[in-house]
Amino acid sequence: MTTPKTPSEKQNRSIQRHNTRRNELRLDIAIGLLLLGLLIIIPIFGPGRYIIGQITLFFIWAGVVTNWNLIFGVAGIYSLAQMAVFLVGGYTAALMGFYGDAPFWISAWIGAILAGIASVIIGAATLRLRGPYVMLLTLAIAVMIQKLVVTDVECFYYEGALCYPLTGGPRGLMKFGDFGFREFLGYKQAPLGKYYLGMILLTISTIFAFVIIKSPFGSAFRALRDNQLLAASRGINRVKYQILVFGMSGFFTGLMGVLYAGHFKTIGTNMLEIELLLFLLSMMVVGGLGTRWGPIMGGIIIMVSNELMKEMGEWRMIAFGVITVFFIVALREGVVGLANNAWLRWRNRSSN
């Protein structure tokens, strides 16, 4: 039985929609604070250096994926050069530390800004491209960087009889200093410094991503992603938005690259390998492309399964491949979409 809609009913629905939006925001804040609180107190239980290190790594990868998701999932620009941007940040800090003894606290900013600029250039290059051509162009950029650095064996700097190429070549760069937590907090507490630094960076990236997705920017991106022509004819300026999202996401990705370099005290072009790309891609896909919580949830799931499958050798990569294919084929909205649908169904049932 359908009854004709009365104005008051219309009003009711508008209020209801407003309420759902406010509830959504409340839920986001609640989940966020819960997670953050949990992450703050985990070190108190003393889980050991290994777990702390792995969670720090989770912060780095979740941060990278959060920023990648802004470009890839929300804006729908399928860039595969994310790890190249990450390396711009990491290498800048590493090179400045290696050749100039620059402290990480300063070089981090320069690395992040350069990564943002590199990202803007990539974003500008992909402006006119669509779909698979974007992927091909960005992959070509990443592979070109990788090939040029890996084959760089010309001696640039000598340390005794040892010769170092400018970029470190296939071995990458080492011995370039770090954030100095060891001098600051002592050997025992140093991992905690990196842990909390990673947590803060991930939190800032996530808040930034949420604001972008929720703001008119996010709506503009979704409009451009879903129907570029229609969006353009409604006066949405693609150039402005695309440059902006690439710049900001590149900045935060570069910061994550610096954090990685400072955490592992080494950085190299092995970061551009396809295995790592799939690993990060699976986080984004499993979590849910373009969803707000996708990168964090996907990051947790993939990092935990990675830990569980540690002993399984090649089966581990096979499993990640199968998971990625399964989610992209059958569950395109990822676990977040799945949870969302389940929640909606439950609410509808209980309200009827």
Partner: protein, 292 residues
Amino acid sequence: MTGFLVVFESGLSQGAIYAAAAIALAMVWGAMGMLNMAQGAFLAVGGYASFAVVSTLGFPWWMGLPAAIIVGAFIGACLYYSTVKWMYRAPSYDTNIVIATVGVAIVVENGLLKIFTAYAKRQPFHVDGGILLDTVTLRYQTLINTAVALILMLVVAWLLNRTRTGTAIRAVSLDREAAELMGVSVQKIYLQSMVIAGAIAGASGVLLTSVIPMSPYVGHDALLKAAIICVIAGLGNIPAAFAAAFILAWVETSVSFLAGARFGFPALLLLVIIVLLWRPYGLFGRSQGGRV
């Protein structure tokens, strides 16, 4: 003169491989709008199929090629049933399929790693010796590979232009809905395209591994080079892809010869970046326009 001959010979040798790899990629990309990132893994599968049949099971060396073609066709069908069949109607299929095929590539490569180990194998489909031209040897292998690539190109061109299946494939690639309304079964056409492309990829894998050592990751660079060729030559035009493969191989070997080996591949990558910046749908591609 010697320099020219060196570049000519190694360019011919590379070009034959790129051409074979590019044919299958161009066909699937043109017919199904699918950039198949698993193509590189398929090349490796072809190489290992030949290795398994000849070196492990003891068949004569030339049996490697038909074995690779059969296994390649089979894995093409597997790719269709595992991904394409469920995806091609969904929105943003053209990009999601790239993600899916990256996943498939990782699965296949690590599967090969598990079965055959990372230790580099020697391709049994291999002929030693050659003709001495001035100071440079024109290897028999290069001639065989060029001939096989040429045959593959002609077969595919014939299939696409002279057979009913080919007509249907072209119709689907032009306008899927219209072709479906005319009674073409899109699913069948996609399956057939994948099987043909898989078979060609298997054969090109044998050619590829006859020149460079076989490993599960052997197809990575070849895949990217094939994609570059497709962008330069345009999609669906198989003879153009064939010609572009040799031209680009000569460009690459010339750059390697003149500027140093490490700049050969990056030069090609730079070339494709420039081409895409200048012509976003490839050198001969057309803008699809768009519907509002």
